[in-house]
């Protein structure tokens, strides 16, 4: 294992050497250019390092960091024990050492400008955009208390205690006053969002705990910024010149900074949502808006010296609902991945550069007492603060924070790059002991990220902290949760209380009535219902597992089979039975309301006009064996043509939907047997009528044989197994039965082109397919495909849970998931 572990940094080392070599070459401005430089004429090749130096170095660093990440993950064991952030810091230290050895200048450090302008925003935006809103706002009170009171408490106690110790003379002689200590306290007090995210993502504590720590780390920014600014200006003013007015101003500025930052975020979120409403024709740049406008919110509030982190956080939080509804699915995916990529990349670079920055003898000033006491104080006061605040909170919270949770809360108070960037920002002229502060901050950051990050996982395991669990959303759960929300808010209404549910209810009403109307596309307004979403999602999952199952069984023939569902849907002849009608109605709705897929609608409309054309086209498309890769080599910068796959997915989706509902109808509604039998007979008669001629046309033997056999089977079953009529109209359920019976052929196979009862009419059309287009194998799904796939909702549901996301996305989905589950999980959370 050790060997593997060494390989990670080893790879990084190698790269760093290459990198160092390049830098060195660059520094000296060497050979190629020089050699040719002597001949004054035109040079074929020139070497212009200086020309590309900056972007080149940046790109190389990014590459190194990314490769290092690959290296770490070569060994699962290492990454499961050591958090990535800690590994990156260590790697940074090593790389910093190499750079130092080469140059003796710390040429690469984490500068506050780079950090605040380029590295921090993506991380915070990502956090806001994927914030589980319900969970966040549900715990907002707790989060705010920790973020505001907790941070002030930490800052004050740490600063004052250090000052007290300083007065006792333990630290020796330092040029330092009370205000300097308070300044230091304020910058070291804040829990860091980057560090917390990096560590807690790997720990998977339960979502309430996570949201509290994480929310605190985000929202305490305003406090940090204000405290930092206030004390910095006090320090530069000089301790004696600080008046009471300044203190009051400081307090006022807190509200201005925090509320102002939030407001900026909300305004930009509104803008962003509004813009995405009209991007229908510029799909390709759609994702860009999300990033640009959120970034602008960050810069704007930075410009107004408001809390930038709050601004971009709230921009993300507020816009997510509308943006996700407005932009197309592809764009949403793009946004998601890009955001994750940027955030994860920024995080990687931050931690690596934290390590690199530490290798700089000029900033190191050691003062054992100061460093150690800082470490002790921040841990102790954090713990005390948490206990006190939790005691207060538990009197009001429905979900109590247990002592174990408090331990994790205290221990999870990681400090990180924000503190480092702030301390580097200090003015060495005014703050005499800047270097001491810098080195202490580095130690604190390293200690919390490496030591606490390393130990928090075992701690969580040892304390048996409730872990987060990921579960499939259930339709029933969703529905009940929704019903319960309404009941709770109704109860609050009736009892005349204004509680959490009351507010939420009012807000969602306001949102639906006004905000969504303005900010969402009309089509999106329809489909954006959580319940519909889950419904859609589940169906999609089923469809996918259906296909996966088919693939596993070695044949996709059943998908490719020529069931022309689209046309069947169109062909809704009025049925005699009401049940039937409702189902057909339902099917239609599934396409138009649930799926809202304009393309398929169009296709359907077209098919009304010339069904025959469609069939021919369809068969051509389906039957001609497709080579595996069939790219269209058309380049367009402005368009991404929907690929074949998507269309197929969609089609599969529709089909499975139909099957599900049909089987449901027949199997669970308990369709009247007589009626079914009648229907069946009618259909069979039709089939006979239609089949006799086209069958003769088909030259291939196999399908014909199949057909006749089946016909016999039908006859048999007609007389011998009357109960089976029940299933004639439903595909899936029946098929399951057939598999059990090991009947060689099922009359109602999944997509048996010839026998899907509803498609009797289309058969005649299909049969006109030119014979050369219908080789037996593909026309009729192979027997294996038809009989071996036990497709009933009960069996294929979630056999293969579908995961697309990478790890980090996943963990966010996890965080996202419980959002709606919250009410279901704790329906007792009404405030009476």
């Amino acid at each position: 294992m050790w060997g593997l572990r060494a390989r990670g940094p080893g790879g990084g080392l190698l790269l760093a050497l290459v990198l160092g070599g390049l830098l060195w070459t660059g520094g000296v401005e060497v050979e190629p250019g020089g050699a040719h430089g002597e001949s004054q004429g035109f040079q074929v090749v020139t070497f212009e390092w200086a020309h590309v130096q900056d972007p080149y170095v940046i790109a190389l660093w990014v590459l190194v960091a990314s490769l290092a990440k690959i290296g770490f993950h070569l060994s699962h064991k290492v990454t499961s024990v050591v958090p990535e952030s800690a590994l990156l810091i260590v790697l940074g230290l090593v790389l910093g050492g190499i750079v130092w050895a080469a140059d003796h200048i710390a040429s690469f450090t984490l500068t506050p400008t780079v950090f605040f302008f380029y590295l921090l925003p993506p991380i915070v935006l990502d956090a806001g955009y994927f914030m589980p809103n319900r969970l966040f706002f549900g715990n907002l009170g707790t989060i705010l208390l920790y973020a505001v009171v907790g941070t002030v408490w930490n800052a004050a106690t740490t600063g004052l205690s250090l000052y007290g110790v300083f007065l006792s003379g333990l630290m020796g002689d330092l040029q330092i006053g009370l205000l300097d200590f308070l300044l230091f306290g304020s910058l070291i007090a804040a829990v860091d969002p980057v560090a917390v995210l990096a560590v807690f993502e790997e720990v998977h504590v339960n979502e309430v705990l996570f949201i509290i720590v994480f929310g605190e780390s985000l929202l305490n920014d305003a406090v940090t910024v204000v405290l930092y600014n206030v004390f910095e200006s006090f320090v530069s003013l000089g301790g004696d010149n600080v008046t009471g007015v300044d203190c009051v101003k400081g307090i006022v500025s807190f509200f201005v900074v925090s509320l102002g930052g939030t407001l900026v975020g909300v305004i930009f979120a509104f803008l962003l949502s509004l813009v995405t409403r009209f991007t229908k024709h510029v799909r390709i740049i759609e994702p860009g808006f999300v990033f640009v406008i959120s970034y602008l919110s960050y810069l704007t509030s930075e410009m107004l010296s408001l809390s930038a982190i709050l601004a971009i956080t709230f921009c993300g939080i507020c816009c997510q609902k509308y943006v996700k509804a407005n932009i197309s699915e592809q764009s949403a995916t793009t946004v998601r991945y890009t955001m994750k990529m940027l955030a994860s990349g920024a995080e990687t670079i931050i931690f690596m550069f934290l390590g690199i920055s530490a290798v700089n003898p000029f900033i190191w000033t050691w003062n054992t007492a100061f460093v150690l006491l800082t470490l002790v104080f921040i841990s102790v006061y954090r713990a005390i603060g948490v206990v006190l605040q939790t005691w207060l909170l538990n009197r009001y919270r429905m979900v109590q924070l247990e002592p174990i949770d408090q331990v994790v809360l205290s221990y999870g108070g990681l400090r990180g790059a924000v503190a480092f960037a702030l301390v580097v920002l200090l003015d060495g002229e005014k703050v005499k002991e800047k270097n001491l502060f810098v080195s202490t901050t580095i130690i604190v950051v390293f200690f919390t990220v490496i030591f606490q990050g390393l130990t928090i996982k075992p701690l969580v395991q040892w304390l048996k902290v409730k872990r987060s669990e990921h579960r499939e959303p259930r339709l029933n759960e969703k529905l009940h949760g929704r019903a319960f929300d309404h009941i709770l808010s109704a109860i609050e209404d009736i009892s005349g209380q204004i509680g959490h549910n009351y507010l939420r209810d009012k807000w969602s009403h306001f949102d639906r009535k006004f905000l969504s109307r303005v900010l969402m596309r009309r089509s999106a307004q329809k489909s954006r219902d959580q319940i519909l979403n889950v419904f859609h999602e589940l169906n999609l999952k089923d469809a996918i597992s259906y296909v996966a199952e088919g693939e596993r069984r070695g044949s996709l023939a059943f998908i490719r089979s020529p069931s022309t569902d689209n046309m069947v849907n169109v062909d809704f002849t009025p049925r005699s039975s009401t049940v039937e009608a409702s189902v057909s109605y339902l099917l239609r709705e599934n396409v138009s309301a649930v799926c809202l897929d304009m393309q398929s609608l169009q296709q359907r409309r077209r098919s009304i006009r010339d069904t025959e054309d469609m069939v021919t086209h369809h068969t051509l498309q389906q039957y001609l064996y497709k080579p595996r890769q069939e790219y269209k080599h058309l380049y367009s910068r402005h368009e991404l043509t929907p690929t074949e796959d998507e269309k197929q997915d969609r089609e599969i989706f529709h089909r499975t939907m139909r099957k599900r509902l049909e089987s449901f109808k027949s199997a669970k509604l308990g369709l009247n047997q007589k009626k079914a039998a009648k229907m069946y007979k009618r259909e069979r008669a039709q089939k006979r009528r239609n089949s006799s001629i086209p069958n003769g046309k088909l030259p291939t033997e196999i399908p014909v044989q199949n057909f006749t056999i089946k016909e016999k089977d039908l006859e048999l079953s007609d007389t011998e197994e009357p109960p089976n009529y029940d299933e004639m109209s439903g595909g899936i359920e029946f098929l399951a039965g057939v598999t059990k019976d090991t009947a060689s052929d099922s009359p109602a196979g999944i997509d048996n082109p010839v026998f899907s009862p509803d498609e009797a009419l289309d058969r005649s059309l299909l049969a006109r397919v030119p014979p050369w287009l219908s080789p037996g194998e593909t026309v009729v799904p192979s027997q294996r495909a038809r009989t071996q796939i036990p497709l009933s909702p009960g069996t294929f549901r979630r056999l293969t849970p579908f995961r697309l996301s990478s790890k980090s996305v996943d963990s966010f989905l996890q965080a996202d998931g419980p959002e709606e589950r919250a009410p279901a999980a704790k329906p007792e959370s009404t405030h009476m």
């Binding site: 538990n394 429905m398 669990e469 579960r471 259930r474 339709l475 029933n476 759960e477 529905l479 009940h480 019903a483 319960f484 309404h486 009941i487 109704a490 109860i491 209404d493 009736i494 009892s495 005349g496 009351y502 209810d505 009403h509 639906r512 307004q525 329809k526 219902d529 319940i531 519909l532 419904f535 169906n539 409702s582 339902l586 239609r588 709705e589 599934n590 309301a593 649930v594 509902l661 449901f664 199997a667 669970k668 509604l669 308990g670 029940d726 299933e727 399951a736 039965g737 009933s792 909702p793 009960g794 069996t795 549901r797 279901a824 999980a825 329906p827 007792e828 009404t830 405030h831 009476m832």
Partner: protein, 197 residues
């Protein structure tokens, strides 16, 4: 004096029955009188006076639940015409916040009670089963707040949910098996299996 004594006696009795504190009871009593217009009982119409309730999509179902004999623990079915304060408290006590002093079992019990309340709301004909019709009805009302969702998609959702419930509760269904409706046991299962509840 005597009247006051008996009143406090009454409160104590209610406390024991519903688990509310005397403060809460007093507060709810005030609210009750406000709703009923100082009458001893509340009728359905009285709930129309709650303005905020109007926005609630399943308002009628919730109000109905207040008069449901099953929820009032008065009988297996049927609706009461009017409810007195004690009944009102009984209904309210379903949604009493959980005490920290409550044991695990009690919490579990209270959860179950709430779910039963919900179940009763779904099962409008009190036959102990949520049939597809009933389920559709509920889902339609639930989604009625959103004007863009048509009835039919609500129905298909109900169908889907029903199917899900069936697949969770019965598992693999025999071809000729018919799932009649969700019983309370199934209801718990469909909701809770795998969840933390």
């Amino acid at each position: 004096m005597g009247a006051a004594h008996s009143a406090s006696e009454e409160v104590r009795e209610l406390e024991g029955k519903t688990g509310f504190s005397s403060d809460q009871i007093e507060q709810l009593h005030r609210r009750f009188k406000q709703l009923s217009g100082d009458q001893p009982t509340i009728r359905k119409e009285n709930f129309n006076n709650v303005p905020d309730l109007e926005l609630n999509p399943i308002r009628s179902k919730i109000v109905r639940a207040f008069f449901d004999n099953r929820n009032l623990r008065k009988g297996p079915s049927g609706l009461a015409d009017e409810i007195n304060f004690e009944d009102f408290l009984t209904i309210m006590s379903y949604f009493r916040p959980i005490d920290t002093t409550m044991g695990e079992e009690q919490v579990e019990l209270s959860r179950k009670e709430k779910l039963r309340f919900l179940f009763h709301m779904y099962d409008s004909d009190s036959d102990g089963r949520i049939t597809l019709e009933e389920y559709r009805n509920v889902v339609e009302e639930l989604l009625s707040g959103n004007p863009h969702i048509e009835k039919e998609s609500a129905r298909s959702i109900a169908d889907g949910a029903m199917m899900e419930a069936a697949s969770v509760c019965v598992g693999q269904m025999e071809p000729d098996q018919v799932y009649e409706g969700i019983t309370f046991e199934d209801f718990l299962k469909a909701r809770c299996s795998g969840s933390r509840l």
